[in-house]
Structures are given as C-alpha cells and as structure tokens.
Symmetry: D5
Subunit: 139 residues, 10 copies
C-alpha cells in the first residue's frame, strides 16, 4: 500500500551546514534503497518532512528517524493512503529557507513564524501540493 506520512521535529542543536548536508546525503542513500521519496523543509530549527512509499517501509524509516539524536519532539502530523507519489524526482527534495519561500510559509501558517506543529492535515496537504510548483529548492 502506497502512503504518505508527514511529521515535524525540532533540531536538537543548532545545525551547521555540514550537518544538514550529511543528513541529506544519508537520507537520499537510505530512501532510494527502500523506495521512499519525499520532501524536507528546515526552517527556524524545525524539520517538516513528507515521506512517500510502502506503508511498512515508511513506518520503518520514521522509527529510525525517532532514534536519531538530532531530532527532538517528533510528532506525526498527517498520514494517508495515496494513489501515486508527488515527489518522484527526489529520493528527498530539500526546501531552502530563503526569503523567497517566506510567502509560502505564511500562506499556510497561523502565525508569522513557520510552525508546522499547529498545521492541520488539510493545510499540510495544500502546503506540499504548492511547494512542488512554487518553492525554491536546494539543488
């Protein structure tokens, strides 16, 4: 069964550019092997990630993330069966935290700063649909 799982977590310490690069490299290698795709936003010390793939494989990957000390306060925000993937071009796309993405963050947030922990499942789906087309991505 093909599903998507969306979760948020906080970075356990201020991440250095090298840390994020390492996360992405590891993420892409692991995801490709188990057929998981998705997108990752890191803004204000908060990760917001949508994972797509087999229901069991995504659960396993999420459980491995829980055990990673770089993630604090993990919370499942959304989960649903899907009939096809959205992010097939990346094993894991990464959204830059540049100024150009601010308007998108505001459009789906209840407050001026980006706080995915309070976003409803409906809002999260609209957010990930929009970033496919309108956001600036880290290459």
């Amino acid at each position: 069964m093909l599903i998507q799982l969306t979760y948020a977590s906080r970075t356990s310490k201020t991440l250095m550019p090298d840390d994020l690069a390492a996360i992405l490299v590891a993420s892409k290698r692991n995801n490709a092997r188990v057929g998981v795709t998705g997108a990752l936003c890191l803004t204000n010390g908060i990760f917001l990630q949508q994972l797509e793939g087999d229901r069991t494989a995504v659960s396993l990957l999420y459980h491995r993330i829980l055990a990673d000390p770089r993630h604090r306060d993990p919370a499942i925000l959304d989960f649903s069966e899907i009939s096809s993937r959205k992010f097939t071009q990346w094993s894991m796309g990464s959204l830059s935290s540049l100024e150009s993405n601010r308007a998108i963050y505001l459009k789906y947030s209840r407050s001026a700063s980006f706080d995915p922990y309070t976003m409803s499942p409906t809002t999260l789906r609209a957010f990930f649909d929009e970033i496919m087309y309108n956001a600036a991505w880290v290459a």
Copy 2:
C-alpha cells in the same frame, strides 16, 4: 487553527485622508506582529474588512477594533476555518473607492449603493475572491 473573520462597521465621523492613512499604518504594524493578514474596503462611510490568521489572534484583533472609537455599529458577517490564506502579500491590503471598483461592488450588493451589512456569507466569500484579481488597490 487558521480562520477568516469578516466584519463591517461604520466610520464614527467623516474620515480625513490622514485618518485612513493612520489606520492603515497602525493596522499593518499590528497585524504583521500577530500574523494576521487581510483586506480592507472603505466605501460610503462603511468599513468591510476580512482578517485571516490564528483563531485566537483574529479574535483578539477584532476585540481591539471594537474598542476603537472610530468604528460604530460593528457586526460579524462571516467566519470560517480556512486551509490557507488569500491575502499573503499584504498585512492589510486596502481597496480604493475609485469609480473602477463600482461594478464589483454592484455585482455583490443587493442595492445600488454598497451595503455589506446585508451581504450573505456566500456572497462575501465570492466578493473577496473576486477583488484579489479584479479590483484596483491602494498601493
């Protein structure tokens, strides 16, 4: 929770251009701080404003407007949960009362003069959807 609240009020006295400018400056400063966005029409001595943001923050802002002596006869006209904001480019956009907006006002009003107090929630939502694209805005 992300919601929109739409209300109307009457200007307590004839507003001078400076008054309106002051309202907009204050409105933009306050809204940006609490993550509220929206649009404001001032026509025939009637304010019609749509506020978007966190349910609690919008309630607080509306309650502060009630206490402002420049507003008379305030009335809540519409309120609903939304999955994303419409007016992300403004902390508060302001519609000019120029001739060019008259046809839009007529399209959604039951009478020849603009009277938002009698507009239904459905009509108000259609009105704010349309002004996003077709109305002339004060810069």
Copy 3:
C-alpha cells in the same frame, strides 16, 4: 437578499420601434434607482426578462410591470437566490431579435419558434448564462 426573477409576457399590441425604445429608457431609469439589473429579449411578440437585485425591490418592480398595459399574459418562470449578479454592465441589457441570435434561441427552445413560456428553470438559467457571451446585443 440577492435574487433573480425571470418572467415572460406578451406584447399587448404590435410594438413600434419607438415603443421599445421608450420601454428601455424607462426601464433603465427605474432600475438604476432601485439597484435592479438584468436582460430583456423581445422576439415574436414575447418579452423574456431576467431581473436581478434585492428580493423586495425585484418583487416591487415585477408588480409594476404587471400593471403596465403593454404586457399581457405575464408568468413567473424562474426565481432563485443568487450570490452575485450576472448583468452588472446594464441596468437593463436588450437582446436584438436579429438572425444572429436565432441559433441560440433554437438551442434552448423545444420548438422551432422561440417560446419561453415552456422553458424549464434549468433551461432558462443556461440560456441567460449563454447570452452573456454569445448573443448580439442592442447597443
């Protein structure tokens, strides 16, 4: 409340061009004052008119038309709440009875000649939607 009322009537005698011009002049003056907009077709001695505006104002206007001796056999054909007006550019648009409108009349009529008295509410709404875009109007 914003509503539309559609009615048909027969001309009580053969109308001269001057009669129709007079009807239109009076209609535009009266409608503008009470915030009623709409469209008028006069074909084969039958008036078909859609009025849009406040529920009470449209009722009043229709009652005045009933008292006008130029209208015979008046009948209400459709009436419904609307969230916005269709005919904001005219206080009363008038459709010419030229050849170029014949195909539109046929599309919505059950017989070869135009007979609005037999058109259902659904057909009438489709008819007025189409004439907005495809019909030839009297200037």
Copy 4:
C-alpha cells in the same frame, strides 16, 4: 410544470374572524378549480402562503391576490420547481395562530416575533416541511 410559490403580505386592516373565514372559503373554491393547493399562516397581521400547482396557474392566482385590497406589501419569497405537492389534503390549509405554534415560528425566525419577510428560501422550505407534521391547524 409543477412549482411552488411562497409569498408574504400584510393585512391592509385588522381582519375580523369573518374576513379570514371569507378569505378561506373563496381561496378553497378558487384553488380547487385551478388545481392549486397550499398552506396559509396569518400571524401578527402578516400572511405567509405557499401555493403549489401548475406554473401558469400559480402565477395567475398570485396576480389575482396582488389585486386584492386586503393584501399590502406583497413580496415573492421563494419559487421553485417541485416533483410532487406537499399539501394535497387541502386546497388551502390554514395554520392557527395559537400559542402552540409559537415554538415553530421562533425556530425559523431571526427575531422573537414572526417575520417571514426576512426568511431565506432555505429557511422557508424547512418551515413548510415542519408544519406538515408538527403544527396545529385550523380545521
């Protein structure tokens, strides 16, 4: 075509019991002949009546009511195509204005006193559906 038309009017003077009885007698005789059925409420000097029947026959009957000097301020409140009648047991049922009907009036009114002029088409349809089953009728 089978339709229902709902209108309100005010009594032009205080009606005596004999006036109302006369209205009902005439109403029943006229309606039966032209196949019109319906229900009539008279409360606080306001008539609220729903007529059911052929589109042309109901228009004609409504036009005759307009000409009756006992009705002031007539206004069409609702009109729609129906697939069957609701009030087949009466050529014209009449709702008593007894205390027992007060709760029903309040349920569908925006104010403490019964004011059908402000009721929306949706509210009017729910009102007439309910009185079929729960209201006290004049025999």
Copy 5:
C-alpha cells in the same frame, strides 16, 4: 439572517452559585427580548456558549458579553449561517457540570479535561448536536 456564534471565555474569578444564577437570569431576560436562543456550559472555570439568532442581534449580544468583567480571554470559536435554531425551548439552556456529563465532554475534547478553546468548528457542531439529546441540563 439566522446565524449561530459559539465562543469560549474564562470566568474572571471563581463564580459562586449566586453569580451563575444571576448570569442565567440576566441572560434569559436579555435574550428573549432580542430573539436570541442558545446553550451555556460552565466547566472548569470555562464558559462555552452557543448563541442563535439574527446576525446583527447576536453580534450585539456578543459585544456586550465582551464588556462584562466576569468574562476573560473571550474567543470566537465558530460562526455559521443556519436555516433553523436548535435551542428553541430555552432562551438560554444551561448544562450542569455534573459527573454525568463528563463522558460527553471527553468525547469531543482532545485532552482529559474539557478545553473548548482547542475544539474545531466541526467538533463544536457535533458537541452541540449531541448535548440536545444526551446531556443533563440544569432545570
């Protein structure tokens, strides 16, 4: 226009039984006069109230509540057009805070203690639908 407005507030001090009785007496007197009906829950020092009536009358009443020093942290939680009222038997029904209502509170709350400030509009409507039939009311 008939609408419902639901809001929550906190009691500004611990209310004595006499305070609540006084609130209810005043509430019923005021509401009846302006045609507002509804229901009131007071649990854990939080008021949750649904008001039904004319859009303007309910706005006015809510604005008067805002000015009442016994209410702190007022917040509008839901608002929508309705075609009929739910609480016609009370000008203001009051839900007891007895043990017997606990299961209902839990059913619609995200936490073990009743916290209407976090209830979504959908949950609030389901809550008020249920209490009509299953809750224990203060006489």
Copy 6:
C-alpha cells in the same frame, strides 16, 4: 487536534495472561493521564490498537510503545483527524480472542487468520466501527 492512530505490532514472546493484564493496567493508567482512549485486540500474537486523543499526545504515546521491548515489528496502519472519539467508555478497551469474535475478524481480513498488517485504512475504520457494537469485550 483530535486524531486516531491505528498500529499493529507482534508480541516479542508468547505473552502470559499476567503480561497482558500488566499491559492493560499500565495502558489504562497512562492513557487516562494524557487523555488518550482506544481499543486493543490481541490475536495470534498480533496487537492491533486504535488510539484516540490529541495529535501530540497520541504521537508521544506511540513513541513510548515503540520503545517497549514487548512490541516487535510495529507499523502505523492508519491515522486521521476525527471530530469525536469512539471509545469514551474505556481508557483502553480490550477485545477477547474468543471464538465469538472470529466471524468479525474474518469479515475484515483477506485471509482465514487475522492479519491486520494487510488491512487497508478503509477496512480498519469499518472494523473498529463494528467492534463497538458486535464484539465480545474483556471486562
């Protein structure tokens, strides 16, 4: 936000009656404190559990279950926003694995033996709806 999360896991060793009793006692104590309710089935060495409550509280509880050595192969099977809880009578109801529940298991399973790991979200929701009314529960 009120959500439900459904997961399956395998018992890491054959559970003794005392183990299950201990799980239930701990589960009820923990759940009540954080406002989580739900239902638990233990059949053929597989746990199937539906948790209801605040989105963050349920995530936290699920993460604690993951760390419990009695659970192997945990997998999230379903997750969705709900407007009210289903299992308010239990902090955690427990379904017996008696013969009398076999027909229910078969009705929602693709094979003769109960295997929740292959049940779709739609099937899982229908299963939990049914057990509310038709299953035999451990007291």
Copy 7:
C-alpha cells in the same frame, strides 16, 4: 440491459369494462412470455403505463402497442436504465380509478385532473415509486 419505458396514450373510444379486462388478459399473457413487467393506470380516458424489462423486448412491446387501434396519441414520457425491477409481482399491475387513488393523482399532477402528458420524468418516477405502496390496485 434492464430498462423502464413510460408512455401515455388516449383510449380511442370509451372503453367498456370488458375491453379493459381483455387488454389486461392479453397484456399479462404477452408480457410474461417476453419477461416484461409493469403497471398500468387508466383514468379519464388516458393510459399511463410503465414497462420494465430488456431494452429490446420493451421496444418491441411498445411498437406493438403503437399499432393497436385502441391507443391514440401515444407519447414516450420517460425511459432509463434500471438495476432492478419494481413491479415483479405483476406481469402487469392495474391501478383502479377509484376515489381512493385521487389524492395520489393530484400529488403528482399540475392540474386538478390527471394529465400524465405534462408530467416530467422526475415526477413520473416519484409517482410510480409511490403507487407501489400507497395505491389501491385492481386485483
């Protein structure tokens, strides 16, 4: 393909009881052989019949009726694919024209006398649904 066809026709001359009995006997014999079921009303010299069965068989039967000199002015009123039959108890049920069926006729007619030629497909379907349960049938 299973379909229903509804038509009306006028009796070419005043039918004697023996004529109608003969029609029914022949109708039942023919219908049973080709698997057509249905219902027949004869009121005011108008036949209204609904035929159910295979698309080709019903067409053939209707074409044979057209050739029968006892039917004048035949007109197809409705036709649609159905997933099951309504009138399985009769090869052809026959509705009596007794007083007791008058209220049903009025409920679905636009005029005081029964005139199926003017009934819409929607009204005809509602009519045949109702007579299954509420009409008086000829044995």
Copy 8:
C-alpha cells in the same frame, strides 16, 4: 419539455447513395418544421440517430420512422430530458462512414464492428458528445 431520443435500426435493403440522399432531404425538411434537430450515422447497414426537441414532437417523429419500410428492427436505446440541444447547426447532421471515423466507432463499441444495439445509454451519450467535435461529417 426538451428531450433527446436515440434509436438504432437496420436498413431493410442495401441503400443506394440516392436513397440516403433522399432520406436526408426528407429528414431535414420534416425536422425543421417540427423543431427537431439531431445527428445520423449510417454504418454497416445500421442507422444510429439522435433526435432532439419537444417530447411530443420527437415521439411523433420516431413513430413515423417506425412506419417507414426502410427501417427494420428499430429499438429505442436512450431517452432523457436535456436542458439544451447539442446539434443546433443541423436539422439533421449526417456522419460519413469514412475510414476517418473508424477510430471513434471502435472507441465506443464493444466489438471491432460498429454495433450500437449493444451500446449503453452512458456510452451513447459519450459517443454523441465526441462526434460533435472529432468526427468527419457529410456536408
């Protein structure tokens, strides 16, 4: 009432080009007079025709076709109320049986050769919608 009726028939003998031309000339003359429009396909000795117009006029026309010895095995395939006509440019359009129309025939047929007798009402409506735009017509 505006309806469409779709039927098929077989040509009683091999039609010569002159026969078809004669059919079309007669068809156009008759249809124009009674306000019937439509489209005609003649392929493999099978007519498939959709007629649009007044319910009574279409019935009459179909009954006249039944009596025409050039049609064998007539069968009504579809019939429904419509709110507007599709084929207003022709009193009767005629589809050529050229190669260029073969792909369209295949798309809506269950077999390699065109057999409208087996096409469902849904398929027939999709077929006539498509030929409006994509088929090659006889001038």
Copy 9:
C-alpha cells in the same frame, strides 16, 4: 487486498444431486483453507458465484475453477475491491433453485428466465445484497 469476483459458467452436463453435493463439499473445504467466502446459485444449468477474499487467492481459485471440466463458458462478470465481506457465515453458501427464489431472479434479470451473463455489475451487486436477506438457502 480484499476483493470480490463474480463469474458465471454453464454446467457441462446435467448435474445430478450428487454432483452438486460433491461440488459444495469440495468448494467448502478448499475455500476455508484459503480464506475465500461466497455464495453460489445454480439455476437452469447456469452457475453464478460470488467469491470474496484476498485478490491473489481469489484469482487462484477462479483459475482452478476454469480447469474444472464441469464448467463451460466461464465469464468474469464483476470484480471490485471491498472493505469487508458479505458472506462470512459460509465458506460457500448455496442458493436453492426453489420456486420461492423465482421472484428475486426475475427482479434482477432482463428476461423471464435467469440469465446472469447479461446482468450488469451494478445489477449483480444489488442481486447479491438482496439474497443475503430475502432468499431461501440450501442448509
């Protein structure tokens, strides 16, 4: 994945009561082992069977039936994903061909004799829903 597959076949020779009994005994033994449930009708020498279970298991079972020389002219009539089974009380229920089931057969057949080969998927689903409750079953 839980699915249902419905097929028909003809008996290759006249079945003796012992043949049918043998089919049912084998069917029940095989189905129970692979978790397939369902219902079987044998009428006029035609089998109509609905199988429920895992998509792969049902395919395998159907393929085995194809290889059974007692079945001629097998044809898949319907197939769809289901969220739960209908026939959990039987590994294979069997409908008697008694007179008492005739009315049910007629209700869903286009002809007087039962011919499942021509029944649409929609009709087949309605048929199997009905026989659960209204048909006479072989013990």
Copy 10:
C-alpha cells in the same frame, strides 16, 4: 458491455527479444479479430496488461493467456465497466522498459522496483491514464 481487465503475470523464462516480438504479433492479430484493445508493459520479468473490449471477449482472451506456458502466476488486478476505450490506436500498445519510463513506474509503485502485484485498482487506473500521455512506447 464494454469493460477493462488488468492482470499481471511473470514470464516463465527469460524472454528473448524474438519471444516478445512473437507475443506482440500474435496478440495484435488475435485482439483485432475479437475487438480487444489495450496496453502491455514488460519490466523485470513481469507482464502488466490492460485489456479493453466486450466483457465476454475479454474473459475468453484472458482465459487463453492463462493457458499460455509463457505466463506464470497470473492474477487479476482490476476489472470494471467503462463507457469508452482508452487505447483505440493499438490493438495492443507495448511500453518500452527504457530508463525514460522509470520515473513513471516509481510514481505508482510502493517500492523502488516495479511490482504491479501490489498496486491497488485505483493506482492501476491512474497508471494507465498517465502512460497514455507520458510514457515512451515501443513503435
């Protein structure tokens, strides 16, 4: 009745290019004769094929494929009534297993390698809709 049947099978041995060419030649010849169209993907030793045509003809064709020793582990994955065909340009289109189709395979697969046996009916329909427009086809 027009239906589509989708099935998967494994190649019983590694297919040589000549084998596949022979399969396509035979497939096209057989399909054209019986009016079956469709599309075929061969990737990783798995056939995924969608067949469109008459319900009986598709069943017969599928049964013949079952008897072909080049197919192992056949399984019906989807089946539904359709109102028109998708693949009218091919009697059997064949999707290349080139790199350029990989992204499409991933989009609809739960794992990194293409495994149609686990794809749901909904996913399969979306997959065949997409390949019509975006996939690279073998000429």
